[in-house]
């Protein structure tokens, strides 16, 4: 949202207040997409511990010797912060999937008149699914 | 300085068509317009284009209808040219891709319109003008025709011989609205004026803010007579706050007009016992204003047009756009409340006197479209006859200006043939002596040298702008609104001698006031204050000529109603009113109407439908 020159008092930034559904959907989709690709890199990095593990590398975990892979994962999963981040990731993924579906339909020319409603539906469903999954995600963290 | 073979001033339907025609005839043509072409007011036309396209129809019938509609003030050669050529022009538009409404068999649709003996109004939904304007602009883009948009033409470069018939036009002087630059545009072959309507002479109009009659006023001051200026069409159903047109379709579907007391006045007060709301435009307009004048108007201003009884379904089906218009421009919901309407200025039948090729009395100067008067509309224009006029006469002017051989004209221009002077004495002094005006040939000290006239005009224009920008004085807006008010109050659908004289007095005052007009915005960038100030001068000159014609024409013909003279007087008045500027001393004169057509003579009949 660059500006050809500074309009002084006019802050383009404040425009978000006037955004309509379609624009929010676009922003959220972008944001969630970036989070997901970012996560994919981290995810593979963490999973890579399986390579040394398969070669027999071990670490000390909760007093016993475990392979590095299982140790890393389980210790990460033991952190509350990680669990919360995971819930966030789920929310992000679910929104991206639902809105992605909405976009695929839009690409097929289906339900364009209801594009704002389908965006709200994506939001609400994301919320619902996330909340419903919290017990599963948090289970065993404490 | 720019140079082209043909310069077209204005980019509405007439201007675009003229430019395309001139280019096809081999000329290097440029369009100079104060608005970007697609902003022109042709885009506002809704109804359609009359053309005898079908086997059961004929151009002769169209010509007959038009002559009758004109109340026998149209010139037959021009009317017949219109009706003969409009079919091919409409098909040409179709071939250029114009999205007309279609019949089941894929042919273009036509619909009935007031005063037509055959449904020959070809249309594209309720946006015919928009589609026509855009289709033609597309062709201009395709052909790569040069367009100088947002250049306001200030004046014409016309030589200053004593007799207007000896004068010649060599170009125009224009002001670049974006940058403030003043530049000359030399036209080697001809200048075509296509500047459109003059609705801004009135304060309540369906016309655009840009419709200030610039071309008419410029040509007038350069020596071309203005023809039949007193004939102004008022539309009975326009929204009070903006003048936006509510189509006749509402009354056609059964909409009813009520006054403040809830009376259906068209019947209850006996204005039109047979047709009621569906009587012709002038009758309904006069009825509405009588109601208001007699104290039965709502807020002393308007009447109600009610369509609620038609039912939501029918309204949504056929009149949906009316709902939007009333909602967007008046804040009224046509489904739950009646819509306020009042008469508004709609169309100027008169204008720059031309022959059927668009030539004016001055060599090298042409006019086409609403600014011109060929004359095809006479005392009253039929709905759907303006758009074909744009394309038929736009094309003719374009080709003629490009040098194509087109034969001898039958309509005369200037004081040729049987003209007669008027013997009307105005009580108020009209015009403006002393050469204060901006046009070349209005008594200013500009040469008769054809090569030097453009440069000299550019210098004069620069001096004038400089003066307007640097001196102090009044704002033009006061003057403009005074003119508009007095015109609307007194030269409206009702015209009485005393009040017309009064108007001339008001205009005299306005002229005096205009002498110390000044522009307070000092900027050279997009100075609309300056543009409007120059336009106001044009409005003044037009308003005056219009009022002069209205005073002198002591009869009731077509749109021109006089309290003291309640009938059409064919013995005296089968003639056109002309006003010549004469270097600041306007002169009124007449020339006969031409009723002899190609195969027959149109005998004046009673105009009843």
């Amino acid at each position: 949202m660059s500006q050809s020159y500074n309009r002084g008092l006019i802050e383009d930034f404040s425009r978000w207040r006037e955004f309509e559904a379609g624009m929010w959907a676009w922003i959220f989709h972008k944001f969630t997409g970036w989070v997901l690709i970012g996560y994919l890199f981290t995810h593979i990095a963490v999973l890579s511990t399986a390579i040394p593990a398969a070669n027999g590398a071990t670490m000390m975990f909760q007093g016993s010797e475990t392979d590095v892979f299982t140790g890393t994962i389980v210790s990460l999963e033991g952190l509350l912060l990680v669990r919360i981040l995971e819930v966030g990731l789920l929310a992000v993924a679910v929104f991206h999937m639902l809105n992605g579906t909405r976009l695929l339909l839009v690409d097929l020319g289906i339900g364009l008149e209801a594009q704002d409603k389908s965006f709200y539906a994506s939001l609400i469903l994301t919320g619902a699914i996330t909340v419903a999954s919290v017990p599963t995600f948090i289970a065993g963290a404490f | 300085m720019h140079e082209h073979d043909v310069i077209v001033v204005g980019a509405g339907g007439a201007g675009l068509r003229a430019a395309i025609a001139a280019q096809e005839a081999g000329a290097d043509v440029a369009i100079v317009s104060k608005l970007h072409p697609v902003r022109s007011h042709t885009g506002a036309a809704e109804g359609g284009i009359n053309a005898a396209l079908r086997d059961a129809d004929s151009w002769e019938d169209h010509a007959y209808d038009t002559m009758k509609g004109s109340d026998y003030l149209g010139d037959a050669p021009a009317v017949e040219a219109l009706c003969q050529e409009s079919p091919e022009e409409v098909i040409q538009l179709e071939h250029w891709g114009m999205p007309f409404s279609r019949e089941e068999d894929g042919r273009v649709s036509q619909r009935p319109f007031g005063g037509l003996s055959f449904p020959r109004t070809t249309y594209a939904g309720a946006e015919t003008g928009h589609q026509m304007l855009h289709t033609m602009y597309e062709q201009v883009v395709k052909r790569g025709i040069t367009v100088y948009d947002e250049w306001h033409v200030m004046e014409l470069a016309v030589t200053d011989e004593e007799d207007p018939a000896d004068r010649t036009c060599h170009g125009v002087v224009a002001y670049d609205i974006q940058s403030g630059e003043i530049s000359g545009f030399r036209a080697d072959n001809g200048v075509i004026l296509a500047t459109g309507g003059m609705g801004q002479v009135f304060d309540h109009t369906t016309n655009a803010v840009a419709n200030t009659g610039d071309g008419v006023a410029m040509a007038y001051r350069a020596g071309v007579p203005m023809e039949d200026m007193e004939f102004i069409q008022f539309h009975p159903t326009t929204l009070p706050s903006t003048g936006v047109l509510i189509s006749e379709g509402v009354r056609g579907e059964g909409g009813i007009l009520y006054n403040e007391d809830g009376e259906r006045f068209m019947f209850e007060h006996g204005y039109a016992n047979n047709d009621g709301e569906l009587a012709s435009r002038d009758v309904v307009s006069r009825a509405e204003l009588t109601e208001v004048n007699e104290g039965r108007g709502i807020e002393d201003e308007y009447v109600h047009l009610d369509m609620r009884h038609l039912g939501e379904e029918r309204i949504l089906d056929r009149l949906e756009n009316i709902l939007h218009l009333a909602e967007d421009f008046e804040g009224a919901d046509g489904l739950t409340e009646p819509m306020p309407v009042k008469p508004g200025q709609h169309y100027a039948m008169g204008g720059i006197e031309t022959n059927e090729f668009g030539e004016t009395a001055i060599g090298g100067l042409y006019a086409a479209g609403e600014c011109a008067c060929a004359s095809v509309h006479g005392a009253n224009r039929l709905g759907g006859n303006a758009l074909p006029e744009l394309i038929v006469f736009g094309k003719r002017a374009g080709r003629h200006a490009a040098g194509e051989e087109m034969g001898e004209a039958e309509v005369t221009t200037g004081k040729e043939g049987d003209w007669e002077p008027a013997d009307y004495e105005f009580e108020v002094e009209v015009g403006e002596t002393g050469g204060q005006g901006p046009a070349a040939a209005d008594g200013g000290a500009v040469a008769t040298d054809p090569d030097g006239v453009l440069e000299a005009e550019v210098e004069r224009a620069k001096a004038r702008v400089e003066e307007l920008l640097s001196r102090e004085g009044r704002n033009h807006a006061e003057i403009r609104s005074k003119v508009q008010e007095t015109m609307t109050a007194n030269v409206n659908v009702f015209r009485e001698e005393g009040r017309l004289e009064e108007t001339l007095g008001d205009l005299r005052e306005a002229r005096e006031a205009y002498k110390d007009v000044a522009v307070s915005d000092p900027s050279r960038t997009f100075n609309t204050d300056l543009i409007h100030t120059m336009e106001t001068r044009n409005i003044l000159d037009i308003a005056e000529a219009l009022t002069m014609g209205a005073l002198a024409r002591e009869e009731f013909r077509g749109a021109h109603w006089r309290k003291e003279h309640q009938e059409r007087k064919d013995e005296n008045w089968l003639k056109h009113t002309l006003v010549s500027w004469n270097d600041g001393e306007p002169e009124l004169w007449y020339k006969p109407t031409i009723l002899e057509g190609e195969n027959k003579t149109y005998e004046p009949k009673n105009r009843s439908y």
């Binding site: 997409g33 690709i37 390579i51 593990a53 398969a54 892979f69 299982t70 999963e77 993924a93 065993g140 | -």
Partner: protein, 123 residues
């Protein structure tokens, strides 16, 4: 008509691929989440269990395909977003190849991991 063929500009091809991969990911990502968070809980993951799954050819290929599509979809998405913001010229070329390089690294590392689990390519 060879020309027609080549007229499928990359813009259109990428656009289509972005949608096709999205449709594929929709299913596989749902499956992935379901399997690793609901059927098996994330904190119960062990090397052995993962290996057991990976040793099946069908699961292995699905996961590799998952990785490939996700990488393409994600990286192409990022690239598109940048172009939409007016990324042009050299900068654009640099970004493009950086992204390609990152993708290659990601794919390489991901497949290595899968192979480690499966103990080599599962045949």
């Amino acid at each position: 008509m060879a020309e027609r063929y080549s007229s499928f500009k990359s813009g259109g091809r990428m656009w289509l691929l972005q949608r096709v991969t999205a449709a594929f990911l929709l299913v596989v990502l749902a499956f992935h989440f379901f399997l690793l968070h609901f059927v098996h809980h994330a904190d119960e993951v062990t090397l052995a269990a993962s290996s057991a799954r990976m040793e099946q050819l069908s699961y292995y290929s699905l996961m590799v395909l998952f990785l490939v599509t996700a990488t393409f979809h994600g990286v192409n998405g990022v690239y598109n977003a940048l172009i939409n913001q007016g990324l042009t010229g050299t900068k654009r070329t640099v970004v493009k190849w950086t992204l390609v390089a990152a993708s290659v690294v990601l794919l390489f590392q991901g497949i290595r991991t899968a192979n480690a689990w499966a103990g080599g390519f599962p045949l």
